[in-house]
Symmetry: C2
Subunit: 119 residues, 2 copies
Amino acid sequence: MKEEIQLETIKRCSSQYILALNDTLNVINGKWKLPIIGILLYGKKRFKELQREITKITPRMLSKELKDLENNGIVKRTVYDTTPVMVEYELTESGKTFNRVLDTMVEWGIEHRENILHK
Amino acid sequence: MKEEIQLETIKRCSSQYILALNDTLNVINGKWKLPIIGILLYGKKRFKELQREITKITPRMLSKELKDLENNGIVKRTVYDTTPVMVEYELTESGKTFNRVLDTMVEWGIEHRENILHK
DNA sequence: CGGTATCCTCACCGATACTG
DNA sequence: CAGTATCGGTGAGGATACCG
């Protein structure tokens, strides 16, 4: 588990607030999680498909990030008993609604660019 | 500048979208930026005040994170020509509206916890 | 196909001391 | 007060090779 951002230093905030924020940060955290989520928003994918669509990710990192996302309840992993074995990854309900967070981040980013230009 | 999350791998997204998202990620990025913003949301603070309110941050890191936030247009630094010198940090307009992003992150985090419990 | 195992680098961050 | 300088550890992530 990665060292967390020091949210507990915001003393005025409830621990509920901090736990929830940390959960969200854990989804964002790492170089490849948002790209993975971004692709899975369009539907189920197999390991090799993800690797092809995410330029330059190594299997090591893809495996690690998918495990993290699975442990955090963002991604569901399904193994089909075929030969050779087939594994599919898809977003959970939480994973799908994470879209809202991304949208808010993008909206703020766009407004921020406008704020800076108009000064 | 830190290496960016590989957003360009989400090929279906516009570069506008990716730039905006990266701007937002730059505000989040680092161990102490959210704590600093969280405190500055309550008003202007001096360097030493921030150091006191954020437990265990070293002046080195506080200085670095404040510079990053200033460069990103989130924090405004004002030097008063007194003796000894007095420096105040406050949020810009963008910094203040960043609250919306935090709120969305907290909302998602809370819903996510509920999703997990009800399974 | 769907991953592990190993090794290695570099940037993040802490500790400590010092400065204008 | 408001920082900077220097040193050093650690862990995220890349490269490459291999496995069932």
